[in-house]
């Protein structure tokens, strides 16, 4: 392991880096009680360091997992062999909100559904990595470590001269290649719901860095089942691939929610006709459903005939009688997740509930067993965080819970970005690291082979 002292170059410049992030407008938005607030995403200067060996095995495991998930999505929207063969109960597919019957029979170009997968992992105290969840719809966050790295290089160039770190600035190129692989003929565009979206900073950053047009729905239209971008002169430019940053339900008011004001009418007809690639494919939610998570190791065996390299956190489905019994007997030590929620919402730690609340919760689970999964609380590795690193008080190093969102891109090949978004909880008692719950982020350094052999 690399020594702590090697980071003094970044730590010493923490205030400067945070100031640069502010100046560059690195923000994310939160809606609370219907009011939009934009916040700076607190950056911690102490990077998470992953050795080359550790990364190599994680990389293999992530590629295997995402390949299996892509096979699963194709299967579910076509022959449904995994259900017919009894590996996954039918209920889990069709009750899932992410399953979209409207997408039945559509085959995206190259059969890729999840082009950009954000896989959340945690490292346990024994060093083993566990998968916490898969995000296959519109996983966000890649831009934050990208810009943080960029600014850290400006503020503390010596840190990068003295450490052998894999350059993470290739993400934009990786994304561009991934988009091109699904391009059905035309320009690349990134569709944003606009300025008041939580991840607007990221949309504009990625558009700029991939050479894509940043668009909103009123600049687009579908004519003869082809998607076009309106030009200023009243003409039109064909769009071949659309990296959309809006949810499935809002994508096309003529196919999904009729009341959607941010969608593009007849986009699904253009997509079905093979005239435009959509990244990620609509309907992916069925594969990153928290209930389906339980079955991913089984998918890897079923589709690839391989043993899963990365483990799931030990998970129980109250849907199964024996799991229900275990959950009822051990509720106070488990973490319960509502499968319909995301962003750290709907996560309940049994240990934090009073006796009455536990009893009440048991009843809820019995009434709606399909709605919940239960997991063992993994004793995960705490990472050092510099408190008051933004220059607003005395600094000190404290230990906090953190996870890692790895970005896996599926184009001609499936590739893992040698970096990732490390999120941490600023609250010492909390395991929830989501930025929407007030967490911060760190850069993630993957070391080059030479360094790890020192």
């Amino acid at each position: 392991m690399i020594q702590q002292t090697q980071f003094t170059k970044t730590v010493g410049n923490a205030a400067e880096i945070n100031e640069l992030l502010r100046r560059y407008g690195v923000k994310f938005g939160i809606y609370k009680n219907g009011v939009f607030n934009e916040q700076f995403f607190p950056f911690d200067p102490i990077p998470r360091v992953i050795t080359a060996e550790d990364f190599a095995s994680m990389e293999k495991g992530l590629i295997q997992r995402v390949d299996a998930l892509n096979e699963f999505l194709f299967d579910i929207y076509h022959d449904k062999k995994i259900v017919k063969d009894g590996i996954i109960p039918e209920d889990f597919i069709y009750i899932s909100k992410g399953y979209l019957a409207e997408c039945e029979g559509i085959t995206p170009k190259n059969k890729i559904y999840s082009h950009i997968s954000g896989i959340d992992l945690v490292q346990a105290k024994d060093g083993e990595w566990y998968i916490l969840e898969d995000n296959l719809r519109i996983p966000s966050g890649a831009s934050y470590p990208l810009i943080a790295r960029e600014l850290t290089r400006i503020a503390a160039p010596l840190a990068f001269a003295e450490n052998e770190i894999v350059d993470n600035r290739g993400y934009a190129q990786l994304l561009k290649e991934t988009m091109e692989h699904s391009n059905c003929g035309g320009i690349r565009a990134i569709l944003t719901p606009g300025r008041y979206n939580a991840a607007y900073f990221e949309h504009s950053y990625l558009a700029e860095h991939t050479g894509s047009v940043l668009v909103q729905n009123d600049e687009l239209f579908v004519e003869d089942n082809v998607l076009y971008h309106r030009t200023y002169s009243g003409g039109k430019t064909r769009i071949g691939v659309l990296y959309r940053r809006i949810a499935d339900e809002y994508l096309d008011p003529l196919t999904f929610l009729p009341e959607s004001l941010i969608g593009i009418p007849n986009l699904m007809e253009a997509y079905r006709s093979g005239n435009v690639g959509i990244i990620n494919a609509p309907g992916n939610g069925v594969a990153d459903d928290k209930g389906i998570y339980y079955f991913v190791p089984k998918m890897i065996k079923y589709y690839l005939g391989e043993e899963p390299i990365l483990k799931n956190a030990p998970t129980y489905l109250p849907f199964y009688t024996e799991d229900m019994k275990y959950v009822m007997d051990n509720l106070e030590k488990l973490v319960i997740k509502d499968v319909a929620e995301a962003g750290g919402y709907g996560v309940v730690f049994g240990s934090e509930l009073s006796k009455e609340k536990l009893e009440e919760f048991r009843k809820t689970i019995i009434a709606e067993p399909r709605r919940f999964i239960a997991q063992e609380v993994i004793d995960f590795l705490d990472l050092p965080i510099l408190e008051n690193g933004d220059g607003m008080g005395d600094t000190q190093t404290v230990m906090r819970k953190a996870d890692l969102r790895a970005f896996v891109l599926s184009g001609e090949k499936t590739r893992v970005w040698a970096s990732g978004l490390t999120r941490f909880s600023r609250n010492p008692a909390s395991f929830v690291v989501n930025s929407s719950q007030g967490g911060g982020f760190k850069d993630t350094w993957v070391l080059k082979q030479v360094n790890s052999e020192q």
Partner: protein, 256 residues
């Protein structure tokens, strides 16, 4: 087997110019095991280039985009078909077993199901027919109390509705009973507008039943579209821009 002629038209009139009007029509009857389309012509005015695709549920979708200012959109189909209700369709989809947006029951519809399920036993067809009988005694056919946005639960609370509401309630009951069911929009004899009915899955094929008339589906029914509920079957869906505040829709349909 029967030879039928069909005609359907919609006239949409706006009280001011609209533009950038995208639409998707599910109006051309699909060719299936129970109906053969002999001839079908579609006219749309103002003239606009259109594209044909088939959606996930097997419906013909005609899509188009009217860019310039216009104050109306008319479309009509005219054609003839051979219907044969003695034959069976087998295009099953598992999603038809699960409740959808319009059929999701509330507590009172669930309670109603629990109250009557003991009276609906036997084969899948026996059960479906019993549900249909009970429904026709419970719900009064009545226009103007519900509209196209009314769900099964809302119509059940009113105890009144039109063919669409009867279909949604029956589908909800069938699905609660573990029977896959789908919504059909189409044309039927003795009906001046479009009609809707239900198909349930017997285990190896679809069987049609008309809950609003409490009768089986015969050769006098022509399927135009099908899906989980009304939302998948809307004959026309459109999005347009303009200052208009109202649109007037006139529908005429004939099956002879």
């Amino acid at each position: 087997m029967k030879r039928v002629n069909f005609y359907y038209s919609t006239k949409l009139t706006f009280d001011d110019y609209v533009h950038d009007h995208s639409f998707a029509l599910r109006i051309i009857p699909p060719e299936t095991d129970t109906q053969k389309i002999i001839f079908c012509g579609l006219n749309i005015s103002p003239y606009v280039s259109t594209q044909q695709t088939a959606d996930a549920f097997g419906n013909n979708v005609t899509s188009g985009y009217l860019k310039g200012d216009h104050r109306f959109l008319d479309f009509e189909i005219k054609g003839s078909a051979e219907t044969d209700s003695s034959r069976h369709r087998t295009d099953y989809m598992p999603c038809y077993l699960y409740q959808s947006q319009y059929t999701q029951p509330d507590e009172s519809l669930k309670a109603f199901y629990n109250e009557i399920k003991g009276r609906c036993t036997g084969t899948v067809s026996d059960r479906a027919e019993s549900f249909c009988d009970i429904l026709s005694d419970t719900i009064e056919y009545c226009k103007c109390v519900t509209d196209t946005s009314t769900t099964a639960a809302q119509a059940f609370a009113l105890k009144k509705g039109v063919c669409q509401d009867f279909s949604h309630i029956l589908i909800s009951l069938l699905r609660m009973d573990g029977i896959a069911a789908r919504y059909i929009a189409g044309l039927a004899f003795c009906d001046g507008e479009t009609h809707s009915w239900v198909e349930y899955w017997t285990g190896d094929h679809w069987e049609g039943i008309d809950p609003a008339n409490n009768c089986p589906v015969s050769d006098d029914y022509l399927v135009i579209s099908q899906g989980r509920d009304f939302r998948d079957c809307a004959i026309d869906r459109g999005v347009m821009f303009g200052k208009y505040t109202r649109q007037l829709q006139l529908v005429r349909s004939v099956l002879t």
